[in-house]
Amino acid sequence: MKIPHALKLRAAVEARRVLDEVTGIASVVIATPDGFEIASVARRDVEPARIAAMASSIAAIGAVVSQEAGLGRCTCITVATDNGFALVSPVHSGETSLVVNVIADADAVLAQAMYRTAACVRALEAPQP
């Protein structure tokens, strides 16, 4: 699977918008389903390559859980922690798939981050002119 260059550029723009528009977001990493980072932005030190690999594993396991439980397509996985949360959302854009990973600190509002991440997914899935 080859990721179109235009989609990589769009991913970089969308990642930046999520980081800028939601308070408390620490990093946004957009990756291929097999764990290669294609875009990332961060407010603190993170390892995008590592996060990309983990996000792809989480997304794949989430998809299997959804399937086994008969819950339809997995749209978002939330990892809630003492000091914040992580969101992992799959993206399906034509024949290309991606994974969006958002890591947020405790001052972020979960619903706001989920809403904005879903908007990011829709933007990446939207057909381009």
């Binding site: 699977m1 290669f36 690999a53 989480i58 794949a60 396991i61 299997v64």
Partner: protein
């Protein structure tokens, strides 16, 4: 009835998913996605885990887990090997440097190998006869390890069963040694 958790690891494309699917009595769980790594001619790759189950004649149950092959997923290696009773390393003799592959997985699972049995299965030996099983044995010996080495075809149920039986025999020996 006992429950055994066994883990299959090895390079991408060696046949871990195939091996588990070959013997699982339930529909195997696989987390394969499209492969974006153009250096490897493979359409899909495991990024989470494989899972299958086998019930032995004596009622013992095997839970088989497969790891992703690429080292960027080594966090999954650590998760999956936790509480496992045995580790099978699958290697592909047609890859550029199978002995380096062996070293990578011995390093990646070094902590686990201190306490759990391990067996090494080497595929494609008929078409790619070197390195030989003796070469692998020497590489293991250089690290102070003596592990069972088998020629396997991950597509063949009998070969996968032989690899698992080798692990189970080692587990039984350890159990007997630990028994008072």
């Amino acid at each position: 009835m006992r429950d055994f958790k066994l883990v299959f690891t090895g390079p991408m494309g060696v046949g871990k998913t195939t091996a588990i699917a070959a013997i699982s009595e339930t529909a195997p769980i696989a987390t394969e996605v499209a492969n974006a790594d153009t250096s490897v001619a493979k359409a899909t790759t495991t990024v989470g885990l494989d899972f299958g189950q086998v019930t032995l004649d004596n009622g013992d149950r095997l839970r088989l887990y497969g790891t992703p092959g690429q080292s960027r997923f080594d966090f999954m290696w650590k998760i999956l090997v936790r509480d496992a009773l045995g580790l099978a390393i699958l290697l592909d003799n047609s890859r550029p440097d199978p002995l380096a592959d062996l070293a990578q997985y011995l390093d990646g699972f070094a902590g686990a190998l201190e306490r759990m049995p391990c067996a090494v299965g080497v595929s494609r030996l008929p078409s790619h006869p070197t390195p030989t099983l003796d070469d692998y044995a020497q590489a293991l010996a250089a690290r102070g390890l003596v592990l069972p080495l088998l020629a396997v075809d991950p597509r063949r149920k009998d070969d996968v069963v032989a690899l698992i039986e080798t692990l189970l025999m080692q587990i039984e020996v350890l159990d007997e040694e630990a028994a008072p």
